[in-house]
């Protein structure tokens, strides 16, 4: 049995309001990422709230919200790791080494990549286009667009036309 997917909306089917909501998902994440820098809990909560607020909107909005939410998870985790690691220096000793500095660089790069791709995605979303990040794009598509078994059942039980 092959899995079925909901059809992807085309730009001309998407009202401006929805495109803006989709774009907003990315911009909201930057803001919350910056606000929650020391403690990723804040931005994660904000991200989850935004996702839930948009839950009843179209799949296009939900897709972009989820992709934005999922892609910031690892970035937040990396940032949190950096903060914890840095604090450990203050607690104990400043014996930081190249492993730490390399981690710092990689985390910076991850943040920049996240930022860059999110900006591109936001612009695309504003135009009513899909944009798939590596991994997170596929995962979000899978979650949002895949037709689930139960849903199909309900769908099949439609009254006769």
């Amino acid at each position: 049995m092959s899995t079925e997917y909901y059809q992807i909306q085309q730009p001309e089917d998407l009202p401006a309001r929805e495109r803006e909501d989709a774009m907003g998902a990315y911009f909201m994440m930057f803001a919350s990422l910056a606000a929650g820098l020391p403690l990723p809990i804040i931005n994660l909560i904000a991200a989850i709230i935004y996702y839930h607020v948009n839950k009843h909107k179209s799949r296009f909005v939900r897709f972009h919200s989820l992709q934005s939410l999922l892609s910031q998870l690892p970035v937040s985790l990396l940032n949190a790791g950096l903060v914890v690691w840095a604090i450990s220096f203050f607690k104990y000793d400043f014996n930081f080494d190249n492993t730490f500095l390399a981690y710092l660089i990689v985390v910076l790069m991850a943040n920049l990549l996240y930022l860059g791709f999110s900006i591109v995605a936001a612009i695309k979303a504003r135009k009513g286009l899909m944009y798939y990040f590596i991994f997170f794009g596929k995962l979000s598509y899978e979650i949002i667009y895949k037709i689930k078994e139960e849903e199909e059942h309900i769908y099949r039980n439609n009254p006769p036309i």
């Binding site: 220096f89 400043f94 500095l101 660089i105 991994f135």
Partner: protein
């Protein structure tokens, strides 16, 4: 689809770990270099502190107190530790050991000392902190940040807050006390002199100075120093302690 998800995930993981390992072995900034820069900061911080609080270096011949402190410093010299002793014109009853091998003695604590022997005990305790390297770089980092961020009068308050609040652990205080006892014995000064000072300070504790801080329990410390019988020290000084105090 599932397969491709896993493939993507692995690509990301490999990229992340690969970049981490790469930069570890081909560092953009070498950690040794960063540490050296950091140590240079220590000097800078020292100079800024001296300027900010107008610390006066013992040994200089300008005032009675600085001469007297210089004499005490020589008495307490250590082969393997070069430290600098400073006088601070602050009424707060306190003395600090600071990163960069600085010891600062406030006017307040000098006024509490009825004899120079008591002050020797205080200095010996602070030397103990320096000798055992009790200063984590944490204090240095906090101080450095504070001093670098701003340069005005508002900094002075913040910095002195950091200094007074930076407490050593119970073990560290015990070590510093033990060092002070050892040092005092070497100089034929009864450690009981410090017990006397502690008792005087204990009566007026609106706040708890660094070396009387609550961690090891003040009473424990007093009884530790009191356990040594009091004997009048026979040390001779070139200054008259009362005159020195009156000059402040």
């Amino acid at each position: 689809m599932k397969k491709r998800l896993w493939r993507d995930f692995l690509i990301l993981l490999v990229l992340f770990l690969g970049a981490w390992i790469f930069f570890t072995y081909y560092p953009v900034v070498d950690s040794e270099q960063v540490k050296i820069t950091f140590n240079d900061k220590e000097k800078e911080i020292k100079e800024k502190l001296i300027e900010l609080f107008d610390y006066k270096q013992a040994d200089s011949d300008t005032t009675q107190i600085l001469r007297a402190l210089g004499e005490l410093k020589h008495l307490l010299s250590e082969k393997d530790l070069e430290y600098e002793l400073f006088f601070s014109d602050s009424k707060e009853i306190n003395a600090y050991a600071l990163p960069g091998n600085m010891i600062v003695i406030n006017r307040g604590i000098i006024m509490e000392c009825d004899t120079p022997e008591e002050l020797i005990g205080v200095i010996a305790h602070e030397i103990g902190h320096l000798k055992m390297k009790h200063h984590t770089d944490q204090l240095l980092a906090t101080l450095g940040l504070e001093l670098l961020l701003a340069g005005s009068s508002s900094t002075a308050g913040e910095v002195s807050k950091i200094l007074t609040q930076s407490a050593f652990s119970r073990e560290m205080e015990t070590e510093a006390d033990d060092f002070a006892i050892k040092k005092m014995k070497e100089l034929n000064i009864s450690p009981n002199y410090l017990a006397k000072l502690f008792k005087k300070m204990y009566k007026k504790t609106e706040y708890i100075p660094e070396f009387l801080n609550s961690h090891p329990g003040i009473n424990n410390r007093i009884s530790k120093f009191s356990s040594y019988p009091f004997e009048e020290s026979s040390l001779e000084f070139t200054f008259d302690w009362l005159k020195v105090k009156n000059s402040l």
